[in-house]
Amino acid sequence: MLRYFTKRLIFLIPVLLGVSIVIFAIVHLAPGDPAEVMLGPSATQEDIGKLREQLGLTKPLYVQYWIFLTNALKGDLGRSIKSNAPVLEEILERFPATLTLASLGMLFAITVGLPLGVLAALKQNTWVDALCSFFALVGFSIPNFWVGLMLMLLLSITIPILPSSGFDSWKNLIMPTIVLGIQTMAVIARMTRSSMLEVIRQDYVRTARAKGISDRLVLTRHILTNVMIPVVTIAGIYFGHSLGGVVITETIFSIPGLGRLIVDAIRAQDYPVVQGGVLFFALCVGIVNLLVDLLYAVLDPRIKAQYRSAK
């Protein structure tokens, strides 16, 4: 088990390496010159040239990448061009807000999506099922920035009960949580429904019923444990997805998180922050996927057995 975990952890290295190459290439091949941006329109060609030298931008790209990589391995992601603060420090400062938001979004998605899917499956082909499925389809189809704007319009302006921006109290978290979680919620609801419909028809569910145990026990112990396996997969994939959504959500609701840090950095051509931020996101997604894999082992003894035998 530990061996498997270690192996998976090592697999993260090439993934991060790949991400670092891609992000480095995109940032450095994009048009625009950070030195020009930093010095403003009044700067002379000479000053710009000097600064480029100072920032190491005159060196060949592969040398620049090598410097970035070796520094990153030491935990040094460079300094922000805008604020001159270490990038890692800025990331870690912003990360708690993003983590809170992403976790709440996932919590919302699971606590609403799972019961919705279960209900739809138990009431298959009734109006309850139709309503749940409609709700899930709508949740999945509407772009989340639009949901954000509409919620804001409704709950901050028409009926002003929630603040539209900031990150000071739990009230600030309600709308961003919904915006961030709604798509994942919809996907989980649909996945739960189809998984339930499959599991309900399994022989072992009939065996469980034949034992005369309560319906509640049949549902929670025999059905849901099996339903959870594909649902966890989807939730894991969408957690990465919703980290992307964080960028939009944080921008809409002016939440000082990692997503907004990156967006602001892109606007300001603050490339060390962009590089560092994206790499950090990639690391988070990798770790979440690893945790999902571990959760499988908890849920499914067959997978646990595979992990044990994996060399």
């Binding site: 399994q202 022989d203 072992y204 569910v205 009939r206 065996t207 469980a208 019923r209 034949a210 034992k211 005369g212 145990i213 309560s214 026990l217 112990r221 025999h222 444990t225 099996n226 396996i229 849920l299 499914d300 003894p301 067959r302 057995a305």
Partner: protein, 325 residues
């Protein structure tokens, strides 16, 4: 004195599907005495499993509907019993062994838990007591009690079926319904499991309905035999009556299907044709299109049962107590 445990009268079950109404069970009657074993024989789709599920109150609904009939178990009519009371009988006084041990155990729960949960539900045992009893049941089916915490995938097919048997016997039921318990197993394992079931049945003094399409299994373990065809019992009697003096052309056909070990030729003699489409049963006797002794009346009129000394047959060849042909 008759000591009837289970009596089924005029059971009719249909399945409503998109293609139409399937008449799965059409007026099944039989009775089973305490401690006896009844073999329910027939091809796939003859209504054997539906009959069993009706007794358990587990006919999937929708699409299944029990149209009419009575299932009396130890004096109680199970079909009119509220679900709450039915739960107290299911797994406790009547339990069921399903066909495929590879799919009838929950893959994510330990076998011990799956045995003990019936004990917790019915015998008011604490978790710890149930665990001890479940381990004891495992030992009874020749699996070390120490494997209590293992999962189904860690057992072979034959062992899994023994786990299922332990599960069914855990609450010491009065009746076990075994739905093709050996069909999915290797031949050598079949004999083992059958022997185990027989000895445990003796030990626990349990009555049993053995559903099978294997007449060899019937010969091994049953006291009485009921042959089903297209939702009806076409012939029923004691083991001797059926094996020694089968009357219905379908039963005779089934016996002819068994290859004779002593015969040189390796030809087998199947019954011509297929089971009728259950959506569209033929008029008259449902067996008439395949019957070698079909008469004009068979095409028009559904035969009535006639009985002689407990040997019942549903065929126009036999009526009024004497053979017509």
């Amino acid at each position: 004195m008759k000591d009837t445990l289970l009596e089924i009268k005029d059971l009719n079950v249909i399945y409503k599907t998109y293609e139409g109404t399937v008449a799965a069970v059409n007026g099944v009657d039989f009775a089973l005495d305490r401690g006896k074993t009844l073999g329910l024989v027939g091809e796939s789709g003859a209504g054997k499993t539906t009959t069993a599920l009706s007794i358990m109150g587990l006919v999937p609904s929708p699409p299944g509907i029990i149209q009419r009939g009575r299932v009396t178990f130890a004096g109680q009519d199970l079909l009119t019993l509220p679900e709450k009371d039915m739960k107290k009988i299911r797994g406790n006084r009547i339990s069921m062994i399903f066909q495929d041990p590879m799919t009838s155990l929950n893959p994510v729960l330990s076998v011990g838990l799956q045995i003990s949960e019936a004990l917790v539900a019915h015998q008011n045992l604490s978790e710890a007591e149930a665990e001890r009893k479940a381990a004891e049941m495992l030992e009874k089916v020749q699996i070390p009690g120490a494997r209590y915490r293992e999962y189904p995938h860690e057992f072979s097919g034959g062992m899994r079926q023994r786990v299922v048997i332990a599960m069914a016997l855990a609450c010491n039921p009065r009746l076990i319904i075994a739905d093709e318990p050996t069909t999915a197993l290797d031949v050598t394992i079949q004999a083992q499991v059958l022997e185990l079931m027989r000895s445990l049945k003796e030990e626990f003094a349990t009555a049993m309905i053995m559903i099978t399409h294997d007449l060899g299994v019937v010969g091994e373990v049953c006291d009485d035999v009921a042959v089903m065809y297209a939702g009806r019992i076409v012939e029923m009697g004691s083991l001797d009556q059926i094996f020694g003096n089968a009357m219905h052309p379908y039963t005779l056909g089934l016996f002819r299907c068994i290859p004779d070990i002593e015969e040189e030729s390796s030809t087998i003699h199947p019954i011509e044709g297929l089971m009728p489409e259950p959506l569209d049963l033929p008029k008259g006797c449902p067996f008439h299109p395949r019957c070698p002794q079909c008469m004009e009346v068979c095409r028009q009129v559904v035969p009535e049962a006639c009985e002689d000394n407990g040997h019942r047959v549903l065929c126009h060849l036999f009526g009024g107590g004497e053979r017509r042909a």
